[in-house]
């Protein structure tokens, strides 16, 4: 597609439920990143994929968070047993091999009630 597509755009879930957030990258972009944007913490790096592997998972806040990427394309961020502090906008960004062409999606706004 022309841009990075994220779905759903909004998600309201009950505390304790699991959620899956999806990112469809720009075709041909091998690098994929997940960031989280929240009022108290700004924009935080979560995880980086190069192809299907994740050489940097250092930003994942806890073991309730996991992510995968298949076929060097679509990525899914999964949050298990959601907590209220997980409420934030989750942003996906992709770039071609060089790092200078980051393109962000519009994000998924997650609200845990």
């Amino acid at each position: 597609g022309a841009g990075v597509s994220q779905s759903p755009s909004n998600k309201v879930t009950e505390k304790g439920k699991d959620v899956e957030l999806r990112c469809d990258p720009i075709s041909g972009h091998t690098a994929l990143y997940w960031y989280r944007q929240s009022l108290g913490q700004g924009l935080e790096f979560l995880i980086y994929f190069q192809g299907n592997s994740a050489p940097d998972k250092s930003g994942l806040p806890s073991d309730r968070f996991s992510a995968e990427r298949t076929g060097g394309s679509v990525s899914t961020l999964t949050i298990q047993r959601t907590q209220q502090e997980d409420s934030a906008v989750y942003l996906c960004a992709t770039s071609p091999r060089t790092p200078y062409g980051y393109t962000f999606g519009s994000g998924t706004r997650l609200t845990v009630v």
């Binding site: 990075v4 960031y35 700004g42 924009l43 050489p55 790092p99 200078y100 994000g107």
Partner: protein, 113 residues
């Protein structure tokens, strides 16, 4: 991730005025210095960026000034327009294996007509 300090937190400028946003960093591993612009409900979008071997870069009304010895860089918006009203982030990039962005806390710019 308080390696990047951005100021001011908010800024009000009259139409036609100059908007100046500053960013100070600590990590000498940063090797690419972009500014991102974010409108409500959208992901950040790359506005302008500079490499550390250059002291200034200008693109239209937007200029980055870079002071490597002081570890500071700034965004100048000339002839500010109401359409420039947005949140601006400095987001220096840590090069190497991950190429991840470290975001500043953001500056909310309002340009009054």
């Amino acid at each position: 991730q308080q390696q990047v300090k951005q100021s001011p937190q908010s800024l009000i400028v009259q139409k036609g005025g100059i908007s100046i946003i500053n960013c100070a960093y600590e990590n000498t591993a940063f090797d690419y210095f972009p500014w991102y612009q974010q409108f409500p409900g959208k992901g950040p979008a790359l506005l302008i960026a500079i490499r550390p071997d250059v002291s200034e870069k200008k693109e239209g009304r937007f200029t980055i000034s870079f002071n490597k010895s002081a570890k500071q860089f700034s965004l100048h918006i000339m002839d500010s327009q109401p359409g420039d009203s947005a949140t601006y982030f400095c987001a220096p990039l840590v090069g190497g294996a991950t190429n991840k962005l470290i975001f500043g806390t953001g500056t909310l710019l309002a340009v009054q007509p």
